[in-house]
Amino acid sequence: MDRVAILSQNGVPDALPDFRNLGVAARILVIVNLAAFVAAAIKASTLPQLADEFLEIALVVEPVLLASLALLWTASPLLARLPYLVGLAIVSVAVLWLTAGAQFVRARVDAEPLQIIRSGSFALLLTALLAGYFHLRNRAFSPALAEARLQALQARIRPHFLFNTLNAVLSLVRKDPRRAEGAIEDLAELYRMVMADAKNLTTLARELDLTRQYLNLEQLRLGPRLAVDWQIDDAPRDALVPPLLLQPLVENAVYHGVEPGAGPGRIEIAIRRERDKVHIRLANPYHVEHQHRQGNRIALANIRERLALHFDVEATMQSGVNGASYEIRMVMPYRRSGTAPAGERAAA
């Protein structure tokens, strides 16, 4: 992205929010209506008056609000390509125009020139308030912070896994040098991907490769105890997902679900696309008595946070025990490479 980013002091590039995101639209709706209510409360002195005033204000505010949201929805990809301040200026001018337009329509009914100035400043004030809010929010979820947490997670590819795998590879060196070579190559590639710059979204195909390499290595030491059931024929391989979405969860599945079991343990990985959503389901055997093995919740919380960062309220994640198995279900919007709206770039 050769976009000219305006860097604030802590290195967070300012950016307009992704107006096509449901969460962003909902936040704008709520905040604007709250402001309208506050304005009505200031003007009114009795409760019935309050209702009247609110209706009065809503009559102007709601059409402008909805028109603005529709406009921003349409223009979102365009706005994302512009520098932040230019985008902000365009948004402000557009909102002003819409307000003036609405007042003009109303003025024909009952004219009052002061109204236009008043509601114009009200609209500008609200736009500034919202811009400030999204700016702060963007900074709160700043990449620096997210990156730090991601790195913490990366470090958590369990040392237990590394040393056990090295030990298993050592056992192959004399007997089956070729397999040992393959395993070392897998290990190198796995760590290269884990240590790579993980700020941007990656494709599901890449995540699947990473997970498969990881499982190859686990197979080496666990042998027939590890069975993997891939249900990914309908997986949208070009879907954009946060990096390291699957591997940490599958690592958990092996650690909590397969290793504590004496018999073979089966891990299910099911991924499919349903209209504009990607559904991911992971299941592994549940061992009640092994819940003391810590680490599960940290990885889950980390992934939940990163899903929220990239997709806001449009992604969901649920986990729980279902009979004899532990299940994680994730749903996220289906986005393909090349069509990522601004939100991702701002957050990623």
Binding site: P159, H160, E289
Partner: protein
């Protein structure tokens, strides 16, 4: 077990391997074979978890057991605790990939441990040390287990004619202190444990609850309570009704407020 003393230099050191990963056991065999000229040894057997090892060891007595820590069914630390109940237990050397807590616990209690991948020189040193030190000591393992934050054991071990009999903790309905011993009552049989009721209460506080100065019952087994009269006819008390046992065990007045809400099923 009257195994010939491991000190006799002519006899090779008998080693038993316990690890849930087959490649890890193979690797250990290779390193032991590499050491054979310097330190004569023979692998007498192997097992893929602690439970299997306890069953296999009596038939194939060993001087040293090399045991992994994280294993299904029974991990290395619980295995060592049961092993220590034998009259002539073998020496135990723990082998682990990475387990910070366990390692700290071993350092404190001077039990030997090796880190995977294992170097030949380090293994030779550990075997020599283990041979000199002799069998694993119960108190040391118990303390290490407590310090490594391990979960409670899953079995009680009872030694019967040199063999270790394992009683699953989940089979035990109640534990009763009688004179010197604690009796573990299961639906099938009673077993004598050489442990104190207070330490059992500490270890299994989650699964067992004290109903009386001399008695712990499994929480899961409590079905209800019934009124009983004391033997001397003075005042009435409560007795617990347990799933799987006809015995009605009295609840002491002191414990009653803590116990009365626990009936399940």
């Amino acid at each position: 077990m009257s195994a010939p003393g491991p000190g006799s230099s002519a006899a090779p050191l008998r080693v038993f391997l316990v690890d849930d990963e087959a490649p890890a056991r193979e690797r250990m065999r290779e390193v032991l074979a590499d050491l054979a000229s310097e330190l004569p040894n023979t692998v007498v057997g192997e097992a893929s978890n602690g439970h299997e090892a306890l069953l296999g060891l009596p038939a194939r007595p060993a001087d040293v057991v090399l045991v992994d820590i994280h294993m299904p069914q029974m991990g290395g630390i619980e295995f060592a605790r049961h092993l220590a109940a034998l009259e002539h237990p073998p020496a135990v050397v723990f082998v682990t990939a990475h387990d910070q807590y366990a390692i700290e616990a071993f350092e404190v209690n001077a039990l030997d441990y090796l880190l995977k991948p294992v170097r030949a020189a380090r293994l030779a040193a550990a075997l020599a040390k283990a041979r000199a030190a002799g069998g694993v000591r119960r108190d040391a393992v118990d303390r290490a287990a407590a310090q490594s934050g391990q979960v409670p054991r899953r079995f009680f071990s009872v030694t019967e004619r040199g063999r270790i009999l394992l009683v699953p903790v989940s089979d035990v309905i109640y534990l009763k202190a009688e004179l010197k011993y604690v009796t573990a009552h299961t639906a099938a049989k009673d077993h004598l444990l050489e442990e104190a009721l207070t330490s059992l209460e500490q270890e299994f506080g989650g699964a067992f609850v004290r109903i009386h100065r001399s008695c712990l019952v499994a929480r899961q087994r409590i079905r209800g309570f019934e009124r009983i009269t004391d033997q001397d006819g003075e005042g009435a008390g409560w007795a617990v009704i347990l799933d799987g046992s006809a015995e009605r065990l009295p609840v002491s007045r002191r414990q009653w407020p803590l116990v009365k809400g626990l009936a399940v099923g």
